[in-house]
Symmetry: C2
Subunit: 205 residues, 2 copies
C-alpha cells in the first residue's frame, strides 16, 4: 500500500515501513501504476493528480465537520493519528494542534525556524543570527543571539507545555525542536498514521 504526502516542494512517499522523497518539479506522478493514497497542499500538483485514476485523494474521506475549512490537510491527518495530545509539526511553518479524546480542540500557526530567522534579518542586519537551540530558556538572555533565540523558542515552549499533554513532534525540523521539548515523542510518520486511520474508517484498506 503506497501512501503519499505532497507538500509545496516534495512528494513524500511511504511504503510499508519506509519513507522516500521526490522533488515536486522533477517527479512525474503518471509513472506510478499502482494505487496511491495521497494528501496534497500543492495547488498545481492537485490539478495534475485529479486526472490520474490510481491516485486517490484521502482529503475527500475526512469528516470536515471536526475541523475548519481552510485548515491544511496535513494538520488534519496528524490530528487523525492520535487520540489525545498536542502535535507540533515543525516544517516551513510550525503548526500546533490540540486533540482531546479524538476531538480537534483548535490550533495555532507559528513561523518555522528558517522563515523566522529571515524575519529577524529583514528587521535589521544586527539581528542576523542562527538560532541557538541550546539556549538556557530559564534565564532572560544578555546577548543578541540568545535574545532572538529566546524570543523565538521560549514563547513556543511555554505555550506548548502549558497544555500539560503528551507532545507529538513531527516535521523536517523535529530533531532541532526535540531540544526544547525533551519529553516529546518524535514521530516522523505521524501524518502517514493519520492517513492509514482515515483509510481504515473509509474501508479503503
Amino acid at each position: 500500500m503506497l501512501l503519499c504526502d505532497i507538500g509545496n516542494t516534495t512528494y513524500h512517499f511511504f511504503l510499508e515501513d519506509k519513507g522516500y522523497k521526490e522533488d515536486v518539479n522533477l517527479f512525474d506522478p503518471s509513472i506510478v501504476k499502482e494505487k496511491v493514497f495521497y494528501i496534497c497542499v500543492n495547488p498545481h500538483v492537485k490539478k495534475v493528480l485529479k486526472e490520474l485514476e490510481n491516485w486517490i485523494d484521502l482529503s475527500l474521506h475526512v469528516d470536515m465537520k471536526k475541523y475548519y475549512e481552510t485548515m491544511g490537510v496535513d494538520r488534519i491527518m496528524a490530528c487523525e493519528a492520535i487520540e489525545s495530545g498536542i502535535i507540533v509539526d515543525a516544517g516551513s511553518a510550525i503548526t500546533v494542534d490540540v486533540v482531546k479524546e479524538g476531538r480537534f480542540e483548535g490550533g495555532f500557526i507559528y513561523p518555522g525556524a528558517r522563515a523566522m530567522s529571515e524575519c529577524y534579518k529583514n528587521i535589521s542586519s544586527a539581528l542576523t543570527y542562527s538560532f541557538n537551540f541550546e539556549v538556557d530558556l530559564d534565564r532572560m538572555p544578555k546577548n543578541s543571539r540568545d535574545a532572538i533565540s529566546y524570543g523565538y523558542l521560549k514563547l513556543l515552549q511555554s505555550e506548548v507545555k502549558s497544555y500539560n499533554m503528551d507532545i507529538f513532534l513531527t516535521g523536517g525540523d523535529a530533531i532541532n525542536f526535540k531540544k526544547i521539548f525533551p519529553a516529546s515523542l518524535v514521530d516522523e510518520m505521524l501524518i502517514f498514521r493519520g492517513m492509514t486511520n482515515i483509510m481504515k474508517r473509509a474501508n479503503l484498506c
Copy 2:
C-alpha cells in the same frame, strides 16, 4: 532642553513636553544650533553627528557594565527610565526587557507586527492575513486568521505576563499591543525619561 532619539528611519525630537519627528533622509542636523542630547542606532547618522559639536551622544554616559555590548541604546534608555518592571517596546522589532530594583535582568527580541505579518506571508500565500488584535487568547483558534494571530500574540502575552511585574508599553505600535496588555502603562516618552535620568546622573542638566 532638546532631546533626540534617532532610529533607522526618523529623528524623534522631544522639547519640553512635546515630541515631533523628522525623516532621516530629508533632515539636515547641522541646521540645529542649540544643544541636542541624543541617542542613535543609525550607523550613517551616527557618523554625521560625531562632527557636530552641539550634538551630544548620551550613550557615552551609560554605565555599560549593567548591560551587554550589542544591546541597542534605545533599549538601554528605556531600562534607565524605570526602577522595576517589564518593558515592551513595540516597533519594527519588539524588545522585552526586565528591570528589578534598577538592575537590568535580561531581555529578548521578538518580531514587530509588520515584520511578522510579512514572515507568515513569505511562508505561504495562504497565511496572508492582518493580525486580529481582538482575538480571544483564552481559546485555541479554529480559523486561519486567528491561528496566526494567536501564534503571534498569545505567546508574547503569556511570556510577558509570567513575570508578574508592572508592564510599561512604548513604541509606535503601543496602541495595538495595549489590547493584549490591558493592564499595562502606555508611556510613549519612556526613552526620553531614561535619557533625562542619564543626563541628571552625568550632571548634564
